[in-house]
């Protein structure tokens, strides 16, 4: 039996990451993978790096990491709504300014995907999709046949992604699975401040378990306040409802939220 912890979308939420890593340490996993987007949104971006490195987490690049490492002008989320862009810019500029050159360079050394073979079960881990680092795979806009096409194209049985910030799992039959592992950095627009990661167990078949992480979100809100991050971001951390970057949400995911 092989067991992996899969985390993603850290968004500088060092407090949720710390709590999740303690939780993972108790679960006797074979490895922990982070599917990218270490920075964004949250406070003190440099704090997540030692936590990930000391825990031996194997990290991939997300679009945010790719932007920070390459000195790009924005986060490559591709918003066009002026309000979304305003907050995305604010978040990116803050994160860029507060991420040390050493950490930016390290982000640039990370692979964009990882392939694993666990006793014949072939896995691909990437940030957005096997096609694009910033392609959104939402549950409500990913048809079964399209997901099979992605698996076929990648030549794998199990595909693990993040990027959207909301977890989901599709069992396509015949041992084929697509898993969006969720995000530790931001609650998932459901009115609860907890965040999520995934434990994947491969033992002949693949078993997916989503793990909720309750952490000291009020302390994170205080950190964000101290760093003068926008009240809208702090509201999301405290309430669990997304307040910004709403443009990319499909109808089903958007309608479930408050804003």
């Amino acid at each position: 039996m092989t067991r992996f912890a899969l985390i993603g979308g850290i968004y500088s939420n060092w407090r949720a990451l710390e709590t999740a890593l303690s939780d993972i340490a108790r679960r006797n996993v074979d490895a922990t993978f982070c599917l990218g987007d270490l920075g964004a949104f949250g406070p003190y971006p440099d704090r997540v790096f030692p936590l990930l490195q000391e825990a031996g987490v194997l990290c991939l690049q997300g679009n945010y990491d790719n932007s920070l490492a390459g000195g790009l002008a924005d986060c490559q989320c591709g918003y066009t709504d002026p309000r979304d862009n305003y907050f995305a810019r604010l978040s990116y500029d803050y994160t860029f300014r507060n991420t040390s050159p050493v950490h930016k360079a390290w982000l640039g050394t990370l692979p964009m995907s990882r392939r694993l073979d666990v006793n014949g079960t072939r896995l691909l881990l990437c940030h957005g999709s096997p096609r694009k680092i910033n392609e959104f795979l939402w549950e409500s806009t990913s048809p079964d046949a399209f997901l099979r096409y992605l698996l076929d194209g990648a030549g794998v049985d199990v595909l693990c992604v993040t990027h959207t910030g909301i977890k989901w799992h599709r069992d396509l039959g015949d041992g084929r699975h697509v898993i969006n592992v969720g995000a530790l950095g931001r609650p998932e627009n459901d009115g609860a401040p907890r965040v999520w990661y995934t434990v994947l167990t491969i033992d002949g078949s693949s078993d997916v378990e989503f793990i909720p992480i309750d952490y000291d979100h009020e302390a994170l809100a205080a950190d964000m306040h101290a760093e003068r991050l926008p009240g809208e971001f702090i509201e999301t951390i405290r309430s669990g409802w997304w307040t910004t970057c709403l443009e990319v949400l499909p109808q089903k995911e958007r309608a479930r939220g408050r804003f």
Binding site: N66, P130, N134, S140, P143, A145, P250, Q251
Partner: protein
Amino acid sequence: MDTVTSAAVELRHLDNLWIQVSGTRCNIECRHCFNSSGPRETSFGLMTLDAVSQAIAAAAARAVREIYFTGGEPFLHPQLLEMVACALTVAPTTVLTNGMLISDRIADTLAALATEARYSLEVRVSLDGYTEEMNDAIRGRGVFQLALAGAVRLARRNLLPLITIVRTWEDADERAVLAAFARLLSDAGCDRPRLKILPALPLGRELTRVAGLQQDACVTTAMLEGFDRDLLMCSNSRLVTDRGVWVCPLLVDQPDARLGTTLEDAASLYELQHQTCVACWRYGAICGNVSARIEGPDIAAAPEAR
């Protein structure tokens, strides 16, 4: 010099199936309409339920990612709701409408479909002004009130419409205009407005609406060097009509853009010969629901680990 040769783009994967379900028949006659649809326009006709079902099945077999119903005005088709229900069993589905025909009964059915389906149903309602005067100058008298009422009926059922707006204002006015749209919608009862802004395209009636419209040359091979071709509709989309399959929804007036009679024979290379192709190249992914430029490093060749 190949820099003056128009470029050719292949269909990488059929991400988007567009269905011109009502042809060019429309209950209104917008001054900027890119395919000159209108009440008397018959260059394309209504598709049959059979033809639409077959196109959906063929697209499903090709692992389509999204299905779009367009026209004309899709709600002029008496079997549209059946077709939408069929599409939703396969993929997320979008209807592009002027919103005027969305009655309470139709809104109820759409909301029920949206709730029951596994995939998202999006309804894109066109509005080109935040006042009756501004909108109706482009879309026709009486359109504003009916379109707004249709959008509100959807929003009240938690089927949040995407309000699609063609940019007909100056860049400097952008913020104020978008804020005015958001305010209008909130006040009317769409309290979570979703806006999609489209560029005005040098096509159809728009060519006569705006005198001296910029006439760009074709997309050249040099313009595609280092360019993410996924941003071009022709690399990921096809349009089915009652008269065959076209390369994209914007080129229905161009005979060379008709690629065949079925999706199977419309998977060929397309040469980007038209000004519209330049607009697609410039703005990227114009027709999709999210205007977002979904581009970035290609990860197909990423290094392997472990």
